[in-house]
Symmetry: C2
Subunit: 147 residues, 2 copies
Amino acid sequence: MDMKFQPIGREAITELLRVHGITPTSQRVKIAGILFAERAHFCAEQVYARVNEDDAEVSKATVYNTLGLFVAKGLVRQVFVEPGKVFYDSNAHPHHHFYDTGSGELTDIDALGVALHELPPLPADTELDSVDVIVRIRQRQPKIRPA
Amino acid sequence: MDMKFQPIGREAITELLRVHGITPTSQRVKIAGILFAERAHFCAEQVYARVNEDDAEVSKATVYNTLGLFVAKGLVRQVFVEPGKVFYDSNAHPHHHFYDTGSGELTDIDALGVALHELPPLPADTELDSVDVIVRIRQRQPKIRPA
DNA sequence: GTTAGACTTAGAACAATTCTAAGTCTATAA
DNA sequence: TTATAGACTTAGAATTGTTCTAAGTCTAAC
Ligand SMILES: [Mn+2]
Ligand SMILES: [Mn+2]
Ligand SMILES: [Zn+2]
Ligand SMILES: [Zn+2]
């Protein structure tokens, strides 16, 4: 249940991709570099913006292809909290999230491990894939006096 | 934690809407009739199809407006399990879901009440909105023999 | 009956994502 | 080395789900 996070050097990224059976093309290394530079939650749009912020160009299609590939290979995890936008989570380990409905910010929740306890039995002939817990929070209102 | 569900007659729907501060137009009554005829998880598209399956016409805009209104008024709840499609849940009470990643089917999980237990404290100056638990499941594979 | 505001509508617009079809690169094998 | 097959990338078109717009219709209050 290691929730510590250390950023990864460029050399190590190449190796990480290889280990996961991913051919480390320049685009993929660049994208992985962004994802794993910090523990963060990016949408595809943000990755696309970051990866192209200097000069070099990586196409939108490649950003989506690569993110999809990373998900398939278990390097990265998708989080669904709102309609019409997927977040890519560079922490692929099982964990949960606070979601600030005002700001849209996602924050990791460490090793909860609780949700599973009192779950009803799974439907027949099914097996567990994952358990996602989203705790929606909002900025506390200043007390409202009745008029 | 009443998880029993009884369908509602047309007269009662009108009243239900009124009670929630919603003017019961014919379109709204019709849509509510679909939503509350059974405990189910519809996407907007399905509601649109159902509401227009006889002859009468309700526009797509009205379907979206109405679903949005029902959500705002707490009659109905949105569930996000996949990118690019919102489910509208006619069970607005707090509860959780199994999501079959193969078939896309959503199933209610009764009164779990557990996830809250060991939650870390909320971030400063925030208050709880809701806790969503999605248990992703998949059809069990027949045992795979190594080749 | 009038009228103001609420409601509905068709269709355009939009945002996120996927697809297409054509190039480019890369890994391996002559 | 070079040839080649397949993997990869690309621009832009297409698709999907949803929201917006602007114009009409209904309704409730006077
Ligand atoms: Mn984002
Ligand atoms: Mn649906
Ligand atoms: Zn996370
Ligand atoms: Zn439900």
